[in-house]
Amino acid sequence: MSEAVLIPTTPMARPRSDAAISEPAVVRWALVAVAMLFLGLFLVLPLVAVFVQALEKGVGLYLKSLVDRDALAAVRLTLLTALVVVPLNTVFGVAAAWAIAKFEFTGKQVLTTLVDLPFSISPVIAGLVFVLLFGRDGWLGPWLEARDLKVLFAVPGIVLATLFVTFPFVARELIPLMQAQGAEEEEAARALGAGGWQTFRRVTLPNVKWGLLYGVILCNGRAMGEFGAVSVVSGHIRGQTNTMPLHVEILYNEYNLVAAFAVASLLAMLALVTLVLKSVLQWKVARQLALAADGPAGGRKP
């Protein structure tokens, strides 16, 4: 489905059933079989394995692992992080996308590149950057220490690292959508007397709402699942600075497999829910893009 979604304006992207340009049935079935086998082996099987492992010693032990004090603390911290990070990145993402898609300004190219930066560097490096900034020997370390503010190996550090890693999701989702829609509707709204905020709320936002939700879902999925960057800045203090992914690793390293997979199963379920929501939203975004293509906004004059 996603192929057709990405290029909705090109009718060629639609699968064709004309016998003349189609492959023989054997080839088609073979291709499908290979794809299914691959999916089953590398995606479905591991997912099933997570739940099987988690439930190996019975439902009782599974539930007990989940209500464990440290496990609950990890869940709480993960939720807290997502609760702070997702709204902030939604606002930043919308602002960045709006600026990039609707306005001409110097430095636009730089901003567009910077939005992608968190995707292009390893999360571990991202974490290390924060250590360099806020660590005891870091640039801001002494200043923070003097004021008794803890960033590193504490919740603020985890939030900052997650914020950094998940920044691009919303912006990346919105930029192409907003660019396809152009700025004409906003201009029309302004000409009709709407103010900047009214234009944004009544015209810009409704036009991108599905794309925005899609970005938010992806951002949330990553915020809850992020391991690398958070691992560097967290300090792995049980019950205090362990997020769910970090907690899974600790349990696993202690050979507490049932507990590890029990917490992992929560993350897996989150992934599944994200996937379903993502599919639904992707379909909605495709429709919105198709509408944008239907009434092209037309490029501005040079």
């Binding site: 201009e187 029309a188 000409a191 009709l192 103010g195 092209p296 040079p302």
Partner: protein, 374 residues
């Protein structure tokens, strides 16, 4: 509400879109900005609307003697219609039209019932009453543009600005909508400016036409004036079909094709090359010399399906010509491809000076009015 702009310039990077453009639109007038793409017509319209800022140092933008140059687009109370409609795609027709009223600050906002009434009246005006609850993507191009017009009129604009309003429509709808817009304008009489690159549209619809090229106004006049008395070479070639000859003036005589015209208007000029233009319908064609100055030509092709016969001729001097004459005259003369004919121009336009470098003022046209035919 009249519009007057003075000495407006606009550059985009290194591209000069407008250069010292001045223009007056009288109250209640329907004016067309006509020109090829890149002539600056859309930029001028957007500057009048406030969607674009003129370069610093530009003159004022006056709406009825009041300078609005510093006001934003929202404060200018203009109705703007976009080429691609720019309807709000997630709103129904009704919500689109009501938008301008609903976003007003509470104190200036009309009560709901009044908004509903006004929207209903506007939809009647654009003949779309039954479409109030449709979404833009459920409408045809012509219907969408009418919604856009109703939406622009809802705020009771002082002036109506339309950017290539029919540009995205197919030929038949375009023609219908054009006549409909003219009738609408005669009904509501709001001062209107529209941009077009379609000369038929400009000449048929507008009270006055502003012909633009390369960021400058070439001529402002009624459709009749710009068509029949073009002020510059550009206007001559841009409006309608025209035949071109390299000519020469020498001691009060004008030479082109194999003709020598008495041209007292050029008597004072030093001997120099000139460019001569004749419209297809400004030729007389005869199978024999009739006393008028004429040159010989061979008929190459004839298109006689239409009210006029169009002849493609090859002049003795080598130019290819396109000539139009009434069908009955063509039939009476028994012209067929291959015949020899005598062609005499009735009305010619002569331009001296350099083609583009010289300012418009120096390339002065000299009218040679129709001379009595024998």
């Amino acid at each position: 509400m009249s519009i007057e702009v003075r000495k407006i310039s606009k550059t985009f990077g290194r591209f000069t879109a407008l250069k010292d453009v001045s223009l007056t639109v009288h109250t209640g007038e329907l004016v067309a900005l006509l020109g090829p793409s890149g002539s600056g017509k859309t930029t001028l319209l957007r500057i009048i609307a406030g969607l674009e800022q003129p370069d610093p140092g530009s003159g004022p933008i006056l709406f009825q003697d009041e300078d609005v140059a510093r006001r934003g687009v929202g404060a200018r109370q203009v109705g703007f219609v976009f080429q691609h409609y720019a309807l709000f795609r997630h709103m129904t027709v009704l919500e689109n039209v009501a938008f301008g009223l609903r976003v007003r600050p509470r104190r200036q906002r009309p009560p709901k019932s009044l908004i509903r009434d006004r929207v209903q009246r506007l939809l009647q005006l654009v003949q779309l009453e039954t479409f109030a609850h449709r979404y833009p993507n459920q409408l045809s191009g012509g219907q969408r543009q009418r919604v856009a017009l109703a939406r622009a009129l809802a705020i009771e604009p002082k002036v109506l600005l339309l950017d290539e309003p029919f540009g995205a429509l197919d030929a038949k709808v375009r023609k219908e909508l054009r006549q409909w817009l003219r009738r609408l304008h005669d009904e509501i009489h709001v001062t209107s400016v529209f941009v077009t690159h379609d000369q038929d549209e400009a000449l048929e619809l507008a009270d006055r036409v502003v012909v633009m090229d390369q960021g400058r106004v070439e001529q402002i006049g009624t459709p009749d004036e710009v068509f029949h008395s073009p002020a510059t070479e550009f206007v001559t070639t841009f409006l309608g079909q025209v035949n071109f000859f390299h000519g020469r003036v020498e001691r009060g005589k004008l030479y082109f094709a194999t003709l020598a015209w008495e041209s007292p208007e050029h008597a004072g000029l030093p001997s120099q090359p000139v460019r001569v233009f004749v419209r297809p319908h400004d030729f007389e064609v005869d199978t024999h010399r009739n006393g008028a100055p004429s040159f010989k030509a061979t008929v190459c092709r004839v298109h006689s399906a239409g009210p006029n016969a169009r002849l493609e001729l090859l002049a003795e001097s080598g130019e290819q010509l396109s000539v139009e004459l009434p069908l009955e005259r063509y039939r009476a003369q028994g012209i067929t491809p291959g015949s020899q004919v005598y062609v005499s121009p009735r009305d010619i336009k002569v331009f001296t000076g350099d083609e583009h470098d010289a300012p418009a003022a120096q390339t002065e046209p000299v009218e040679h009015q129709a001379r009595a035919q024998a």
